[in-house]
Amino acid sequence: MGASLAGGTAAATLREEGFEGRLILVGEEPYVPYERPPLSKEYLRGEVTFDRALVRTADFYAEQEIETRLGVRAVRVEPAERIVELADGERLLFDKALIATGARNRRPAIPSLDLEGVFDLRTVDDADRIRTEALPGRKAVVVGMGFIGSEVAASLRQLGVEVAVVAPGSVPLERVLGEEVGGVLAEIHREHGVEFHFGDSADAFEGSGHVERVVTAAGERIECDFAVIGVGVEPAVELAAGTGIEVDNGIVVDEFCRTSVEGIYAAGDVANHYHPVFERRIRVEHWDNALKQGPAAARNMLGKDEPYEEIHWFWSDQYDTNLQYAGFHTSWDELVVRGSLERRSFVAFYCTEGRVLAAVAVNRGKDLRRSIPLIKARRPVKPAKLRDPDVDLRTLA
């Protein structure tokens, strides 16, 4: 369930691993699985075509005898009868099922959110709608400065759109990356002409039929031709309701992607999974996790008993800046920087009690990659060694 990156790669893996039974992929969107990272970046800017984003070609599914039910949502699971019911009434029998329904955008309770020209971004259709508005010289308001807001703001500027941002906090990505690293990104956006309204939020969208301005909590009235809202997502868990499948910030699964109901698994954005390295449950809303956890779930559906313990990793491109993150942290007591924030070439380590929980790199992909074993090792490391550019990070794990 979910013709997503996790769902598509899981189906492909089931066949690659020799599963010969009936295999059905159900998706709410009318498309075969595709990758979402380009939607806020190169696809939004019109630099690549949609087929470049496909997880596998459309022919692949027929060739592999993977039946698809696209444009129709799975609405209910009946664990006792082993039945999945689709929105069009079709009932599919299963021996094992994977929930890879992903997440959906949070919709803030704001008046006139349904005005024309007010968008959010999750699907290729959303991206297409924004693209038609994103013409040079037009004015956009971006609400929220998480990864989607940040990337959309950058892409719109690159398309010549004037961008005003309304967001909480004082810098982009403050909640995830903190003030120091977020400050670097704020400067980059300012240099590219983004106008910030931090510490503020959107209170209302106004216009006759089509949005004309955003009114903020601080009372500002920002004129615009269109607006894009990026205020986070929530896991798409509705079909688990009443099934006995445990839900807590997503579908709860163990390190083998197993839900609380035998024979039903979950992977990707929807899965709140137990992570053996961090010794807690985490839910990850990124490409790399979907790409790896889908196949991991598939292998466990076939009885491989392989724990999923990848160190989570993602990237974000904004203008010509490449940001990458690995690990998992929610708080930290020391941020150790190797390189230079000013020169925008650094890797910064989020440490607690001397252990590196996570690292973020700006234009330092190689160092980020070399930090992953260090994060996995969970051993205390001296900050001086993390900082010293002459110390090979690979020797610290």
């Binding site: 490409w287 490449n322 992909g365 190689k366």
Partner: protein, 102 residues
């Protein structure tokens, strides 16, 4: 395959190292895997980052920007987001000169 042309001193690419050179207007990466040289297009087929600035582990090069992985011996994609292989070329050391045939 084209003629072998000298692009650098062989000593410029140590064991386990990567480097990129301009050859006939193209950016060519060279990987030294246990003393054997492998040449391939330096430009990642995903979003054009320089693979020579990435990480070499065994015969696998990882793009520094988005993590795509290629087999340096064949140019084959081992892991996305890239989906197209990079062109690979013959490379050799001749009289301490690093030569690539493009």
């Amino acid at each position: 395959m084209g003629e072998f042309v000298t692009v650098a001193d062989a000593a410029e690419v140590g064991e386990g190292e990567l480097a990129a050179f301009e050859v006939g207007g193209e950016r060519i990466a060279v990987a030294n895997v246990g003393g054997t040289l492998h040449a391939f297009d330096d430009t990642c087929t995903h979003l054009r980052c320089s693979l020579a600035e990435g990480e070499l582990e065994g015969t696998v090069v990882t793009c520094p920007c988005h993590g795509s992985q290629f087999d340096v011996t064949s140019g084959e994609v081992l892991r996305g987001p890239a989906s197209e292989p990079v062109q690979s070329y013959a490379a050799r050391v001749e009289n301490e000169a690093l030569q690539v045939a493009i």
